[in-house]
């Protein structure tokens, strides 16, 4: 019988594994013990395959959440571990990856758009519409004022240098592509990501 390590965890966790445990060389004592163990709590969770958000080793991870993805159920991530089937990390995670659950649920996760007005010393919660309308207005005003359609020699250059952007190199490639399209269509050239540092 061939079992992946993850499959092994599942099978034993579900308490269905007497025969497969036997096949793996476990004696009767262990079989009895395994049967007595309360079914593994993750067997009730939804498993989602993901990639560790930190470094470029890109370890495979399994994210476990409660909630069955029904329309009116909100999923809650309860556990993250290494993906044993992943050919690079083979289930292992480092001190950062092992603590991924704590970054997902960090108390300093942002939960609402906030705005700090000039000269003030606090953030105030605002609506998305307020934030995005105001940002679009500020971007357009600056672009209209400082866009360089032609350089001193009269050559068409269509660049905008007075507003810049740093893109996120932990965001997905799909986010990156969409971001590139928007930034470049505006003529933005002050534009970088963490690869610069």
């Amino acid at each position: 019988m061939e079992l992946t390590r993850r499959g092994f965890v599942r099978v034993t966790g579900a308490g269905l594994a007497a025969s497969s445990l036997g096949a793996l060389g476990f004696g009767p004592a262990q079989e009895a013990l395994a049967a007595a163990v309360r079914p593994f709590k993750l067997t009730h969770a939804t498993e989602t395959r993901n990639t560790c958000t930190y470094c470029s080793v890109a370890c495979g991870i399994l994210v476990y959440s409660m909630g069955d993805r029904a329309k009116n159920a909100r999923s809650n991530i309860i556990h993250i571990e290494g993906d044993p089937d992943h050919p690079v990390n083979r289930g292992t995670l480092c001190p950062k990856g092992s603590a991924l659950l704590d970054i997902v649920h960090a108390p300093t996760r942002l939960t609402a758009p906030k705005y700090r007005a000039p000269g003030t010393d606090t953030f105030k919660e605002v609506s998305w519409d307020f934030a995005l309308d105001r940002i679009a207005r500020l971007l357009k005003d600056d672009r209209d004022k400082n866009f360089i359609a032609r350089n001193a020699a009269g050559t068409t250059v269509n660049r905008w240098t007075s507003t810049g952007m740093l893109a996120a190199s932990a965001s997905s490639s799909e986010t990156a592509y969409l971001t590139w399209k928007v930034a470049r269509s505006l003529g933005m050239v002050v534009f970088d990501n963490q690869a610069r540092v």
Binding site: S75, P107, S162, S169, S172, E174, Y177, S185
Partner: protein, 821 residues
């Protein structure tokens, strides 16, 4: 990556993580993989156990990687080129190179123009006024047909190998030791270990990271090692390669997609002012082969560019408007990099700045300058899952962030985004694998995805331009946006855009229908330059085909367990796992190492465990070189005009250094590095700041994120610096004692970790002390409040990439008392 592309043709890690296990020698230099990439580093241990490989570490600190090494040699920060040039000298002198490989696969035998030379620290063509070179002499001598002249006997005095031999002659073991502080006997042992991998069946892999890039000569650090790997025949083979261990989870992807000032997707260059028309842009990008019959794959450049423009602008990009070439912004400078951006901010030349998952107040050099720059903006937009220091730069939190909010007129938006676990999408890992991931839950509260936010800004801007008009709105109004939900495009739709599709029915060369309109492409070989195909990132073509999402593949089968796993996810280009794998075989097509072949010629075609990085039926007798992106088809020991400071690497001191440049005192630091006057005024002298500092990362933390995660904040709760025992004794600093660390730019007060891991080095007969400055703290999150290492670092970058010199600068350190709580 600005050194691998000029050397090999592509700027990316060459091999896979698992392939490290095939090495005979693993060299870790300019990195600390055991701490920074622990789960990748496991393959080094595998190499040691399964392949009896040796691990060699060269580093200023005795790191955790060094702790499991077979051999460790110390080095002064910022002197790697001297060290590695000494190794090149040794290999050439002892004739410990892989001759047949070097002769057939590198430009060793190509003849360089007569005008090229090097004298007193400068190559031909230097202009002190502009701090740049006229590089016209940095090239080959061409024959009447425009091909490079070659002397395969290597007798010609100006063939590359002889110029290289002359160039490195100065780097004797005595000189290396004098510059680097590495004891001569240790250096020579390193040389011997390197030399042992010259036989065709022996491989050395090199693992490096920011320890090489973050210098004013960063790109040349890497190039020097890349040249060594060519001389030893270690590129393209199992267990070999130049393995750039990249940082963030998708830093490779963002580089691939060109989210850099001067880049477009797929390593196409953003045009410059001097290229006002498409034809003028293409003129320098014809990539005519420099030797007969070479692939020179960038001859297809126009197909990649036209397909990109069709993907971005759809029907609005036409042959008549030169595929909307005018709509692309043109650069009047080499690039608007981050150091320039903050210089412009400080000069009042910028209005707004958007930080998407980026924390420049902690991550950029000279925090004081960063804070001042942000204070001069009219508006700052921060999109992040976390409460970053940058979004609170205006807040007065005491010495860690002194500010007067009433005097700062910047409007600041803090926009909550979802994180990795709350989205679908792909990430490109260090070894170029595009791996798909799935959403497990919604984000907290009102958090939204970056895609939703960028789309929201885009639609609002487009509506405003439609209503009010304004500065050149055409590109914005015509931006292709064919998504099912325009307000929140599905990542799968965006992935298909990058993969590319046929726009009309396309017939093959024989006239038979090959592609129907709308069909997803199988790969970049199907791209065309007549506007009938679209692809948003040509190198990703093949990642999402009619067979489905190739990035989501999960078959971990690994032929011969050689570390390829060809059906797990998808790798660019064309699912090739080992770049330049043609070079794993000899010119006749037999594997150099019969125990670990990658591809071999079977008489009709190339077969093996990886997709050939080569024409699949190109015969060995055709003499096509293995470096198919290079116009010569060869790996470059001589980089032509592709590097800012020279076609050969040269040792230049860091901009803040305790030492003169003993090779050429008049040219101390990188002569081609750009230095702004105000930044230069902020360089300290060794009289005031006598110790060399180097910043680094701890295994418990990732940049400035994990201080927000409870467990990591507990594991490494507070800012500290690492000081050697000798210096601590000299200065009266106790273990755990408080110290004041200062540079010309700022002060950090923290506790000292007195260590045996850093020992004084004898540099030019003077004892030189190095101080380690881990960088993870700030004033938000759950760890204790800290300043951040970049309070101290200098604002100067590499001449090619402008990556800041975080790894070698000057500080002073004095004992002090604990701050009042």
């Amino acid at each position: 990556m600005a050194s691998l592309a000029p050397t090999f043709g592509r700027g990316a890690m060459t091999n896979t993580w698992q392939d490290i296990k095939n090495a005979n020698l693993v060299v870790v230099m300019g990195g600390n993989a055991a701490e920074a990439h622990p789960c990748g580093f496991k393959w080094v241990i595998e190499a040691k156990i399964e392949n009896r490989a040796k691990l060699l570490v060269v580093d200023p600190r005795f790191t955790r990687t060094a702790a499991v090494a077979d051999f460790y040699a110390p080095i002064r920060p910022g002197t790697d080129i001297a060290f590695l040039s000494g190794i090149i000298r040794y290999l050439l002198e002892k004739d410990a190179i892989q001759h047949e490989y070097v002769r057939a696969y590198t430009n060793a035998g190509l003849i360089v123009q007569e005008g090229f030379g090097f004298e007193n620290g400068l190559f031909t063509g230097y202009d002190e006024g502009t701090r740049s070179y006229d590089k016209s002499a940095w090239d080959y001598e061409l024959d009447e047909q425009g091909f490079a002249k070659t002397d395969d006997s290597w007798k010609h005095p100006r063939c590359v190998i002889n110029l290289l031999r002359a160039h490195v002659a100065r780097y004797t073991p005595e000189m290396v030791s004098r510059i680097c502080g590495t004891p001569q006997d240790k250096f020579l042992e390193v040389c011997a270990l390197f030399a042992a991998t010259a036989p065709p069946d022996k491989a050395m892999t090199c693992l490096f990271a920011l320890g090489w890039t973050q210098h004013s000569i960063g790109a040349q650090n890497i190039r020097t090692m890349a040249m060594i790997q060519l001389l030893l025949g270690n590129i393209g083979v199992a267990g070999g390669g130049m393995n750039a261990l990249r940082g963030h989870s998708n830093i490779q992807g963002l580089t691939d997609i060109g989210l850099l000032s001067d880049q477009m997707p797929g390593y196409l260059a953003l045009p410059k002012d001097g290229e006002p028309t498409l034809e003028s842009y293409m003129k320098t990008r014809q990539f005519k082969p420099l030797r007969p019959g070479q692939t020179s794959y960038y001859q297809n450049y126009r197909k990649f560019l036209v397909s990109l423009m069709k993907a971005v602008y759809g029907d609005a990009a036409t042959a008549e408007n030169n595929w909307a070439y005018d709509w692309l912004p043109k650069l009047d400078l080499p690039m608007y990099d981050i150091i320039r951006a903050f210089e412009m901010m400080n000069n009042g030349e910028m209005t707004g700045y958007i930080c998407q998952g980026f924390n420049p107040l902690q991550a950029f050099p000279d925090r004081g300058k960063i804070r001042k720059g942000l204070s001069k903006l009219k508006f700052l937009v921060v999109m992040d899952p976390l409460d970053t220091e940058t979004s609170r730069f205006w807040e007065n939190v005491g010495p860690q962030n002194p500010a007067d909010p009433s005097a700062i007129q910047t409007e600041v938006f803090q926009l909550p985004t979802t994180c990795f676990a709350e989205e679908n999408g792909s990430l490109v890992n260090s070894s170029r694998w595009l791996q798909w991931h799935w959403k497990a839950a919604d984000g907290p509260g009102k958090a939204q995805s970056d895609i939703w936010i960028m789309s929201g800004i885009f639609h609002r801007l487009r509506a405003l331009y439609r209503k009010e008009g304004g500065a050149f709105p055409d590109p914005l109004l015509n931006l292709s946006w064919n998504y099912t939900d325009p307000a929140d495009p599905d990542p799968e739709e965006l992935a298909k855009d990058m993969n590319g599709r046929a726009l009309v029915d396309i017939a093959d060369a024989a006239g038979a229908p090959a592609l129907r309109a709308g069909q997803l492409l199988d790969g970049f070989a199907q791209l065309r330059d007549d506007g009938t195909t679209a692809s948003g990132c040509w190198i990703f073509s093949g990642c999402y085909t009619e067979k489905g999402n190739q990035m989501a593949r999960r078959d971990a089968t690994d032929p011969r367990e050689q570390g390829i796993a060809p059906n797990w996810a998808w790798a660019w280009p064309a699912n090739r796992r080992i770049l330049y794998n043609r070079a794993s075989a000899d010119p006749a097509g037999k594997a150099w190492n019969p125990a670990k072949p990658i591809i071999e010629w079977n008489g009709r075609q190339w077969v093996g465990i990886d997709v050939p990085d080569y024409g699949p039926t190109t015969k060995p007798s055709e003499g096509v070189g293995p470096f198919i992106m290079n116009a010569e088809g060869l790996g470059r020991l001589f980089a032509r005009d592709l590097m800012a400071e020279g076609p050969f690497p040269e040792h230049y001191e860091p901009f803040e250094s305790p030492s003169e440049n003993v090779l050429h005192p008049a040219v101390r630091s990188n002569p081609a590095a750009r230095v702004f006057a105000d930044d230069r005024a902020q360089f300290g002298s060794p009289q005031d700041f006598p110790y060399v500092a180097t910043t680094y990362r701890l295994t418990e933390h990732f940049h400035f994120w994990t201080k927000h995660a409870r467990i990591n904040a507990i594991l490494q709760p507070q800012e500290f610096v690492e000081i050697g025992e000798v210096l601590a004794r000299e200065k009266g600093i106790a273990q755990g004692g408080w110290v004041r660390v200062s540079s010309k730019r700022g002060v950090v007060v923290c506790q000292a970790y007195v260590t045996k891991r850093i020992k004084p080095l004898m540099v030019d007969s003077r004892a030189t002390h190095v101080i380690g400055v881990p960088l993870h703290w700030g004033f938000t999150g759950q760890a204790r409040k800290g300043y951040g290492a970049n309070t101290l670092t200098p604002s100067v970058g590499d001449a090619n990439t402008q990556t800041p010199e975080f790894k070698a600068f000057l500080v002073n350190v004095e004992p002090t008392t604990a701050p009042v709580a």
